[in-house]
């Protein structure tokens, strides 16, 4: 089915960004549908943050076309910024104000803000409303970042490594919040270098390396069809040694293996067939050399 233009929250064509001699982004194409959680994955320095900062309107592109909610982000139209929420990698906040004061101030910058209490609830900051922000823990500050990005009731939310430095429980909490954003119909662009995070949250991911997108698709489908990665079949032979083979065609391989084993009267102990995980695909694609 062809996508109607209006169904796209973000469209990027031939995006390039050059800093002096360094070309950080070298021709990127992707689109994000409305209501989708889109993950940008890649090692540090791959060009993820540069790409996202161009979409957010922080940086001008060198070349290419970018449309965000029907606007060119580079023009920094207030009409666009009112509809976008941004969680940056690390940003300070007014230390001497309370959580409620900071949120109320930011709410006042938007034409149709969400209620401050609602946002406090959504971000999991209940009980911290009257605390000065300088007394918050790292995880609580990150939740405040999220609350600040949500207070203007944006349609599109950028999350740049939202759980870096979180303990496992805090990560789960953040994941729940991101899922609830999707349930609210928001479009989310997530950059992360945690593969489980992308696998758990994203409808589609793009793996970025050296300023290019290597592969793009649903996390469960990635690598399955493009021949870049194989199914892994493992078993123990008669003497208990672990054998492992990779194949594009697991059906044939299993047929050969099981046929041979039956002829020899052996059992294939511990036989398993695994599809490549996102992590396998990622490591294979981003490996150096």
């Amino acid at each position: 089915m062809a996508l109607v233009k209006d169904e796209l929250a973000i469209e990027v064509r031939g995006l390039r960004k050059r800093y002096g001699d360094l070309e950080a982004v070298r021709g990127i194409d992707f689109s994000v549908r409305r209501g989708e959680v889109f993950g940008l994955l890649g090692p540090n320095g791959a060009g993820k943050t540069t790409t996202v900062e161009i979409l957010e309107g922080y940086r001008d592109r060198t070349d290419g076309e970018v449309t965000v909610l029907g606007h060119d982000p580079q023009l920094r139209a207030p009409a666009l910024r009112e509809r976008v929420g941004i969680v940056l990698q690390s940003t300070g906040i007014y230390r001497h104000l309370t959580v409620r004061e900071v949120l109320a101030h930011f709410a006042g910058l938007y034409p149709a803000a969400r209620g401050v209490d609602e946002v406090i609830e959504l971000a999991g900051l209940r009980g911290k409303e009257a605390a000065r922000t300088r007394t918050l823990s790292g995880g609580q500050l990150r939740r405040l970042d999220l609350a600040l990005a949500l207070v203007g009731d944006p349609e599109l939310i950028f999350l740049d490594e939202p759980t870096t430095g979180f303990d496992p429980a805090a990560r789960r909490g953040a994941w729940d919040t991101i899922r609830s954003l999707k349930a609210l119909g928001k479009t989310v662009v997530l950059t992360t270098h945690y593969l489980d995070e992308a696998q758990a949250l994203a409808d589609r991911v793009a793996i970025v390396k050296d300023g290019r997108i290597l592969v793009e698709g649903a996390p469960s489908e990635l690598g399955a069809g493009d021949g870049a990665t194989h199914y892994r079949v493992a078993w123990r032979n008669g003497s208990g040694l672990l054998n492992q083979r990779e194949t594009d065609d697991p059906t044939t391989l299993l047929h050969e293996l099981t046929g041979a084993a039956l002829e020899r009267g052996e059992r294939l102990e511990g036989l398993s067939v695994t599809r490549p995980t996102l992590e396998d695909v990622y490591l294979e694609l981003t490996a150096d050399g």
Partner: protein
């Protein structure tokens, strides 16, 4: 999207956004017990100490407008240089840049906070001059306002321009005071400086601001006698504003 166009609540106006930001900055100023407050108190402390040591009226006639000039410098030049470096390093500038708040409204809120401090200091200094240090009410209030406003424009823009040259907040105290203290010392009574220092003081804007303030507060020499002071201040304002706008960066340079 259609429903967005339909319920398009009116975006807050530029003036109301500037005012909101100004009020927030004031609230934070009074809550912050540290550097900003010390910076605010410094000129008043100098006023009390210098007038305690120098009891001649002739000296005090020089000190009071001199401290008024120092107050303009401290509340605008120093305060904004610190503030902009801090906000940039903390990432607060970048965060605000990601909201619909127009850059002009934001900077107006921050500058307004500095100017409010200037106004408070000038009032306190005029009051102290009248009550304790034998100086009458200002001879020419219009001239006083003119010079304070021009001083604010000049030193606020120079303060923001200096912020671009300061790499980190840790270094800010050194950069600011390397300029602030020597300039105050040579400018407060420039007429009696040795020739070499006098030349430097007269090339810089503070001595001219103090001349103007002195004329307005003490001698009653009208604006007609202050053209050269006005001219020097305007030249520095133009330079400061150009550098402040050209070099402005919303985020910390990397590396």
């Amino acid at each position: 999207m259609a429903e967005h166009a339909a319920n398009a609540a009116h975006p807050p106006s530029f003036a109301s956004l500037s005012w909101r930001q100004f009020r927030l900055e004031r609230k934070m100023f009074w809550r912050n017990p540290s550097a900003a407050f010390f910076n605010f108190l410094l000129p008043l402390l100098f006023l009390v100490l210098l007038c305690a040591v120098l009891t001649d009226q002739a000296d005090r006639d020089v000190i009071v407008p001199g401290i008024a000039g120092m107050a303009v410098l401290a509340t605008t030049f120093s305060a904004l240089a610190y503030n902009v470096v801090f906000l940039r390093e903390q990432g607060i500038l970048k965060r605000m840049r990601g909201t619909p708040l127009p850059a002009g409204a934001y900077l107006l809120g921050i500058a307004g906070n500095a100017v409010a401090n200037t106004a408070i200091q000038i009032v306190l200094i005029v009051l102290a001059g009248k009550l304790f240090y034998g100086i009458d009410w200002p001879q020419d209030v219009g001239e006083l306002v003119l010079f304070v406003v021009l001083g604010v424009l000049c030193f606020a823009s120079l303060g923001v321009a200096l912020a671009h040259a300061i790499p980190t907040f840790e270094a800010a105290t050194v950069y600011v005071n390397m300029i602030f203290l020597p300039v105050v010392f040579i400018s407060i009574d420039a007429a009696n400086d040795p020739a070499f220092l006098k030349g430097i003081a007269e090339a810089l804007p503070l001595a001219h601001l103090i001349d103007g303030l002195s004329a307005a507060m003490v001698s009653g020499d009208g604006i007609g006698g202050q053209w050269s002071a006005l001219g020097v201040l305007l030249v520095w304002t133009a330079l400061g504003a150009t550098l402040a706008i050209r070099g402005f960066s919303w985020e910390q340079r990397r590396g």
